[in-house]
Amino acid sequence: MNESPFENLRLELRRGCLVLAVLAQLRAEHYGYTLRKALSEDGLEIEESTLYPLLRRLETQGLLTSEWREEEKRNKRFYRLSKDGKVVLKQLLEEWREMGASLDRILKEVKV
């Protein structure tokens, strides 16, 4: 029943990426289910029970705003990146690119 070290490391790696992906995807407004679908269509599968509480946490941190609105005869909670969220996303993306570039250089050196 032990999870392999790869699985643990993969989960750890994904955890940080998920926040970044969710923030990036919420530059356009979504409610929970369509957000999950949009992420999935872009190749990032995420469990509902992970995504929906994550949205709440990000909203509590002030990175997202939300509002209840009726769509297709049903009330849904729509999320969108807040003003602070945009700033944080920009910073995170810079960090992500720098890390990616560093990793590329390291991998290149290893290859040589």
């Binding site: 029970s49 929906y52 209840w68 009330n75």
Partner: protein, 316 residues
């Protein structure tokens, strides 16, 4: 949708009360969208097995509710023993068990004059056993193996409809209102045999008392009617709460005006007793006004919260 309602009921039971309705409404909207998408893809309604599969993949209600809880605490000694989803339940059960153990053992040990070891050992055992159980649940992912079809049946929402509590409240209010309305005609309803001495005391209420008394009785009658309608669900819950709020605000207004009308009783026979009666009456008015104010505030904020959600407070 019975299965979905049972699932949401099971999740709701484990969520913090303050955020429960909001989270459940959101989960409902998301899961229904997912089910509709699936139906569209299949070109037919989902079978119960297919609905169950969607819910099973959505996650065990305990784990789903655990992820909504504040904080991200877990228990780890090198390796993670209890994950953040289970930790809130582990902590609650641990505290409950330890509380009960202390409550039972402390007096017993105190009588036996051997407090420390006799309490310490059972507590350590409790912590060990509960931690072991939760660690095993976490390690073998026991909660992942579950069947939505075995979820408990739906329970009636206790706040609405003709429940024992609601019937009792309605009857008490109706009897109380009738009692207050009949008291001027039959004072012995309030004073008992003492009513026979009332004429000799030469006590009179202040001149505007009939106006206030009429307003209070009218408000109580309106509340009886409102309770009657809500008892049989003849009025939408949100509308009933707005009507309740209006009555409470009217109640606070009448009681506040009444408070500042004093002295409420005038008597030439015994000034001390009259002063005591006036003070007591004012205290009673103040307490009644505060109770109404508290209820009005609670209704106002709950309506505001539900308006923000654009949803009835409970849908599961």
């Amino acid at each position: 949708m019975n299965l979905l309602n049972r699932y949401l009921q099971a999740v709701a039971r484990l969520l913090p009360k303050a955020r429960r309705d909001d989270i459940i409404a959101e989960l409902r909207a998301n899961i229904l969208s997912q089910m509709e998408d699936r139906e569209e893809a299949l070109g037919r309604p989902l079978t119960e097995d297919e609905q169950a599969e969607i819910l099973r993949r959505h996650g065990n209600p305990t784990l789903v509710a655990g992820r909504y809880r504040e904080g991200n605490l877990g228990l780890a000694f090198g390796v993670q023993l209890i994950g953040p989803e289970l930790f809130p339940f582990y902590r609650n059960i641990l505290f409950l068990n330890m509380g009960i153990t202390l409550l039972i053992l402390f007096p017993v040990s105190f009588i036996g004059r051997a407090v420390f070891p006799s309490i310490f050992i059972p507590l350590v055992m409790q912590v060990t056993i509960i931690t072991l159980i939760f660690s095993l649940l976490n390690r073998y992912k026991v909660l992942d193996k579950w069947d939505p079809r075995k979820l408990p049946e739906l329970k009636a929402v206790a706040e609405d409809g003709p429940t024992g509590r609601n019937i009792f409240e309605f009857v008490s209010l109706a009897v109380g209102t009738a009692w207050l309305a009949l008291t001027p005609k039959w004072p012995y309803l309030m004073l008992g045999p003492g009513a026979l001495w009332l004429p000799s005391l030469d006590v009179k209420a202040f001149s505007r008392w009939p106006l206030f008394y009429g307003a209070i009785v009218a408000l109580l009658c309106a509340e009886v009617v409102l309770r009657f309608f809500t008892l049989f669900r003849w009025m939408p819950r949100a509308r009933a709460r707005i009507a309740d709020l209006v009555l409470r605000v009217a109640g606070v207004t009448v009681l506040t005006l009444l408070f500042f009308q004093g002295p409420h009783f005038i008597s030439t026979s015994d000034p001390d007793v009259t002063e005591w009666a006036n003070q007591t009456f004012q205290w009673c008015i103040a307490i009644a006004a505060l109770i109404h104010l508290w209820r009005a505030g609670w209704l106002f904020f709950s309506l505001l919260r539900d308006r923000h959600q654009m949803l009835p407070a409970r849908q599961y």
